[in-house]
């Protein structure tokens, strides 16, 4: 009775709609607790990050000017695709140390989170926009606009639901991003790239890197063409560095500390608002 030899998956980066290996040629070993699987994860470099920011910047104009309805449909599409890949993600989550039950719960919540934000894509503007009653003969209105390119350091613990919970509000709001996957649980984060790739998300809108936080965080937070930096974690020194580097170009630094991503309160339009700029326009009213 011969057992078929399994096919191992090579995990790569996701930059500009392509799956390159890291330009550095370096890797880090990842293995599950039982040491049943051993992976060579890409150790993404600052140059990979640089390339990803270029891609994100290039994609920004197109993505931010898509109709909100279209962005909503694409997010919904991601949910659909994810639904079809439940087993793959459950497998990866189990490899990353979850019980089967917990893994099932997490993928379900993750899919639902995409669906939840798919519905927000064309509504948060209505919740947060205003017509302001100014004391002059002017029409004055305020609308949210995408901040631009967002660098994200995803949660280390919650590598699927947390990853997605941080990512989706960013792109639902018309931003593009470069997101660093959990270093200790990278599998399902990078697998997400395959889902995004087959869900009409334009190239460059989401770029996913794997690698070492200690090595990349400095570049994520200091890059002058990044408009906002989202940091998930509790490391005070890292937070300080992120906030200090943000000063270089007045980045909006968003810190998610001790967030319980599985809770219902960890979703909502205010997460979208974190990477929005409010624009106010004046125009005279006359004949």
């Amino acid at each position: 009775m011969s057992k078929r030899l399994g096919i191992r998956k090579t995990y790569k980066l996701y930059i500009n709609g392509k799956f390159p290996r890291t330009e550095s040629g370096r890797y880090y070993k990842w293995t599950d607790e039982k040491k049943t699987a051993i992976m060579n994860m890409c150790r993404g470099s600052r140059k990979d990050f640089r390339n990803a920011v270029v891609a994100a910047r290039k994609a920004f104009e197109g993505w931010s000017s898509r109709t909100a309805y279209n962005r909503g449909q694409i997010l919904y599409r991601i949910g659909e695709m994810l639904e079809g890949h439940r087993d793959q993600f459950i497998g990866e989550l189990i490899l990353q140390g979850l019980t089967k039950r917990a893994a099932e719960k997490e993928i379900t919540q993750t899919i639902d989170r995409f669906i939840y934000y798919a519905g927000w894509a064309d509504k948060y503007q209505q919740v947060f926009s205003r017509v302001n009653p100014v004391s002059m003969p002017y029409f004055n209105f305020t609308v949210p606009e995408a901040t631009g390119v967002v660098a994200v350091c995803a949660p280390e613990e919650s590598s699927l639901l947390g990853f997605v919970s941080v990512l989706v509000p960013v792109i639902a709001g018309g931003n593009t991003c470069v997101i660093l996957a959990s270093q200790s649980r990278p599998l399902c984060s990078i697998s997400c790239a395959e889902i995004l790739h087959s869900s009409d998300v334009p190239a460059g809108v989401v770029n996913i890197l794997t690698g070492l936080r200690t090595e990349l965080l400095e570049h994520f937070s200091s890059h002058m063409d990044v408009n906002s930096m989202i940091y998930c974690g509790e490391n005070l020194q890292e937070i300080k560095m992120v906030e200090e580097n943000a000063a270089l170009n007045v980045k909006r630094a968003v810190i998610y500390k001790n967030e319980a991503w599985s809770k219902k309160t960890s979703q909502g339009p205010y997460y979208i608002l974190e990477t929005q700029e409010m624009k106010t326009t004046w125009h005279p009213v006359g004949v």
Binding site: P137, Y138, P284, V285, G286, V287
Partner: protein
């Protein structure tokens, strides 16, 4: 000829803001006395009533040349302005004066007559010896887009005027928008107007700060483009010295020094003169005045 107006968009709110900023200038002391005397010299003392009589016009002419004889060094008004049938008596009354005589013509105030009738009327006042003709633009034709007709009409009236100066009344109160005011100003100037004038005084609103500013800017732009100088006459509702000074500020800061003369700027008004006189006396004595000390002809 075929006349196609050029489009110069006007923003109503912006014009209003600029006008009110100009009107907020504070004119005091020396500059005020100068302005008052200047304004007085720019008045077209006007009577345009159905009940005007020969006697009334004679009284007006006397007032024009004897503004306030108790006070020396006063300028005289620029002109008297009346209906065509009053020109003869005015000519007599002002025989020995340099005050100009202006007559309204072209079926004032509505302008609702045939071109032939209008030209005849113009010819008759010119023959009677007026210095200036105040015609009304055909607003109906203008609003229906018949710009060439309106242009030709003004050009023919100008032609009939001979040496007399032509003021074209736009009747801005019937043109409604500032875009139309600008368009009508350009048309009148292109067709040969020597002055453009806001109103007949029979339609409200008459001269407003925004309308006057738009017309002054049209004059400026026309001058810059062609080198031709056109005068401006706001008329209707300008009854206080303060308002007159505010308009002078507007002229000064839009067209500059060279328009601050009766040859280029006039006020069409009936009661303005007395208010200016009261202000002049007040400025020199420091005492607030009463109309009972000024003749009301």
């Amino acid at each position: 000829m075929n006349y196609h107006p050029q489009i110069h968009p006007i923003d109503q709110v912006g014009v209003g803001e600029r006008a009110s900023r100009l009107f907020s200038r504070s004119i005091k002391k020396e500059s005020k006395i100068r302005a008052l005397k200047l304004a007085l010299s720019m008045i077209d003392l006007t009577t345009l009533e159905g009940k005007d009589s020969l006697g009334k016009v004679r009284q007006l002419c006397y007032k024009a040349s004897h503004l306030h004889d108790q006070f020396s060094n006063l300028p005289q008004v620029a002109a008297v302005c009346m209906y065509p049938n009053m020109v003869e008596v005015a000519k007599k009354a002002l025989k020995s004066s340099s005050i100009k005589i202006a007559a309204v013509a072209t079926a004032f105030p509505s302008g609702m007559a045939t071109l032939e009738a209008k030209l005849n009327e113009v010819k008759s006042v010119v023959d009677a010896g007026v210095d200036e003709v105040d015609m009304v633009m055909s607003r109906g034709r203008f609003l229906q887009g018949d710009y060439s007709y309106v242009f030709d009409e003004v050009a023919k009236v100008k032609n009939t005027c001979g040496k007399a100066h032509l003021k074209v009344i736009l009747e801005t109160g019937e043109l409604i928008t500032l875009d139309n005011v600008r368009k009508a100003s350009d048309l009148a100037m292109e067709a040969g107007a020597d002055f453009i004038k806001t109103s007949t005084g029979k339609v409200k609103p008459a001269a407003t700060p925004s309308v006057v500013l738009v017309m002054l800017e049209a004059i400026r732009d026309f001058y810059k483009r062609t080198g031709k100088i056109v005068g401006m006459k706001p008329a209707g509702g300008i009854s206080t010295a303060k308002l007159a000074i505010q308009y002078l500020v507007m002229v000064r800061e839009t067209l500059g020094q060279e328009w601050l003369t009766p040859d280029r700027f006039r006020f069409g008004a009936s009661s303005l003169a007395n208010d200016i006189l009261m202000q002049i006396v007040k400025q020199s004595t420091g005492i607030y005045q009463s109309i009972n000390y000024f003749s009301i002809d």
